[in-house]
Amino acid sequence: MKSRLVTFAGLLALALAMPVAAQKKYDAGASDKEIKIGNTNPYSGPASAYGAIGKSIAAYFRMVNERGGINGRRINFVTYDDGYSPPKTVEMVRKLVEQDEVLLVFQPLGTPSNTAIQKYMNGKKVPQLFVATGATKWNDPKHFPWTMGWQPNYQTEARIYAKHILDTKPNAKIAVLYQNDDYGKDYLKGFEDGLGAKKNMIVAKASYEVSEPTVDSQILQLKSSGADVFFNITTPKFAAQAIRAAYDTGWKPTHYLNNVSNSVGSVLKPAGLEKAVGVITSAYLKDPTDKRWANDAAMKTWREFMAKYNPEGDLSDPFNVYGYTVAATLEQVLKQCGDTLTRENVMKQAASLKRFRVDTMLPGISITTSPSDFAPIEAVQLERFNGQQFELFGEVISAEQ
């Protein structure tokens, strides 16, 4: 009953709003000529590897501008360095909102950084859109209607691995290696939740800090637990070390690798392709170093884009595909806004994407959002490494409601 009333009220409001929608409406940061988009990224400090994302997004919008912009407006992409330090993120985001007066803040990077600004953004009613973190908390439209994630969240991914283990190896003994920060712990939580009552299948857990030189000691610890399944929650450098160390010590578990570090060129190759045979991971984007996509039209376009607009970027870095894809998603949202470039409409359009695809995503994966679903990408595909490239197996797994 209540929902019907709401629907009726909504339709009425829509009908009343219709004639108004035809006019141009602008919030701060939007005008006839340009749309100002704000962003923070770590271009310095220990997380500067992720700065590649900001650079590829900037390059994408340069390309968009050269093609005439979005609905005739050029994009003014303003990005600041926050060094992955939450106090700095707060300062820079306040600058973007209060001084630069951007229309929205797009893809701020890092879980702690986004946690620090979430209340502020929602208080100021400025979109905190497509945040660059896989933490699970960004899909909460009821409490934080101005915050939206983008990539498949870590807990969902971990639950998918847990389910796969329960389905294929119900008596397994599992060892987990995880980075001791919010990203690692989020994956771990999802994994443990996914195992549910069978959480005690995890016989060993080892954590590491980013400041440690190697994880060899942790691998030895995990191996000596006698586990035959290994869930590897590490960032690229440590993932490569873990893969190599596991092989070199003669430990041959069923190896699940988190999505963050599944690049063939940047992780598996340094580890040793032969040492990574059998590694299972999930993916939603095309890996620029995977031979599968060597002749793929979308990746060819991407390579041309990199050569022309982001020549300093590394072609083997999957962050450059990530940046390209998420920028394309924002392009779609802004296109859908038309001439109503208000912050409210930006969120509204972001929450009305229906099966939107960018060709750099894996086949079968698309973006769908709704006012109650602020998780754009919820689908991944499992794949297994055969020594040369990843082979997809199974269906596209989606947590879409």
Binding site: S44, G45, D81, R94, Q118, Y120, S211
Partner: protein, 333 residues
């Protein structure tokens, strides 16, 4: 410059500081609050390293302790923000003093390592599952920004949260600077400098070096802890990895660039560490740290005794006499 001129200058500065939040945008007021916070932290470090010669690469840890004190008390114990400041001060005073005691045995580089160890240990301790219940672990703690107190509204003065927090921090900073000035210009300050310049002679003169050195650690930690608490309230968020060793190194950079053994040096240093990284970011997205590094080296080349030292030299050359109780000869390490 006579005493009177000094007082007038300082009063003018304070007046200027009071006017700022009404002419600046909210976000600039926020930045100004951060400058005050860093100035307090740097003053703390300066007491220990500048005036007392005990090098500390670990003041980020005391900043973190102060910040978490404020966060935990506000989030879990429901204390009002202003009550957390004295508690943070007391806790850090104690921790600093306790750290200073064994540190008495260590000199120079070895002391640097001990403090370095403290700084490096902070994030793992804060993240540890043993303390997770209070610290929130890797997720950190989100704090609600305090509103201006009711009595101001009743008096008809309308301030927003940023402005109120700025004035609050300004008040704390002024109080702490006055206390610090008193400390430095009195017997204690002279004892600290004597210990720094010639330890054995100081002891021979009857100065209880062990007590003074540990006290210096305690007071220094207290200042930085208060700064941490204020900083946490301003930023409204604390997380373990933002209090890493680089924060400690930033503080050290701040006092060197600002000027060792100098009160105004704390302010200059705070301005440097707050704004120069932003400038570096404007100049280069590709390698902002490189630009920052160039600024650092440039500053040290041009002003080896810090901005305060350069200002002192300038003023001397313009024909002024003694300005602060410690003259240039006594104050330089």
């Amino acid at each position: 410059m006579s005493r009177k001129t000094v007082t007038v200058t300082i009063l003018l500065l304070i007046a200027l500081a009071c006017v700022l939040p009404f002419v600046l945008k909210s976000y600039h007021t926020f930045q100004a609050t951060l400058v005050l916070v860093y100035a307090i932290a740097l003053l703390g470090l300066n007491i220990l390293t500048g005036y007392n010669g005990q090098i500390s690469l670990g003041h980020g840890a005391f900043y973190a302790i102060g910040a978490y004190c404020a966060a935990i008390l506000m989030d879990q114990a429901g204390l009002p923000y202003w009550a957390t400041i004295p508690i943070a001060a007391a806790v850090c005073l104690l921790v600093g003093f306790l750290f200073g005691l064994p540190a008495l045995r260590l000199e120079g580089l070895y002391l640097a390592l001990a403090t370095f160890a403290l700084a490096v240990s902070m994030p793992p301790i804060l993240k540890s599952h043993l303390l997770e219940k209070w610290t929130g672990g890797v997720q950190g703690i989100v704090i609600v920004k305090p509103d201006p107190p009711a009595f101001l509204g009743a008096a008809g003065i309308k301030l927003n949260a940023d402005q109120w927090l700025y004035f609050f921090s300004l008040a704390v900073a002024i109080v702490l600077f006055i206390v610090g000035w008193n400390l430095i210009s009195g017997r204690i300050g002279r004892a600290l400098v004597a210990i720094r310049d010639h330890h054995t002679a100081a002891e021979a003169m009857g100065i209880h070096t062990a007590l003074y050195k540990s006290l210096a650690f305690g007071v220094s930690a207290m200042y930085t802890g208060v700064a941490g608490a204020l900083g946490a309230i301003a930023v409204q968020f604390v997380a373990p990895d933002s209090f890493n060793v680089f924060l400690s190194i930033t503080f050290l950079v701040g006092i060197v660039v600002g000027g060792l053994a100098s009160l105004p040096g704390a302010l200059y240093g705070a301005l440097f560490i707050q704004f120069v990284p932003n400038i570096a970011d404007e100049l280069s997205k590709a390698a902002p740290w490189a630009v920052f590094g160039v600024f650092l080296i440039g500053f040290v080349y041009l002003m080896p005794t810090g901005v305060a030292g350069a200002v002192r030299t300038l003023r001397r050359r313009l024909g002024s006499g003694k300005l602060f109780p410690l003259s240039k000869e006594e104050a330089l390490p």
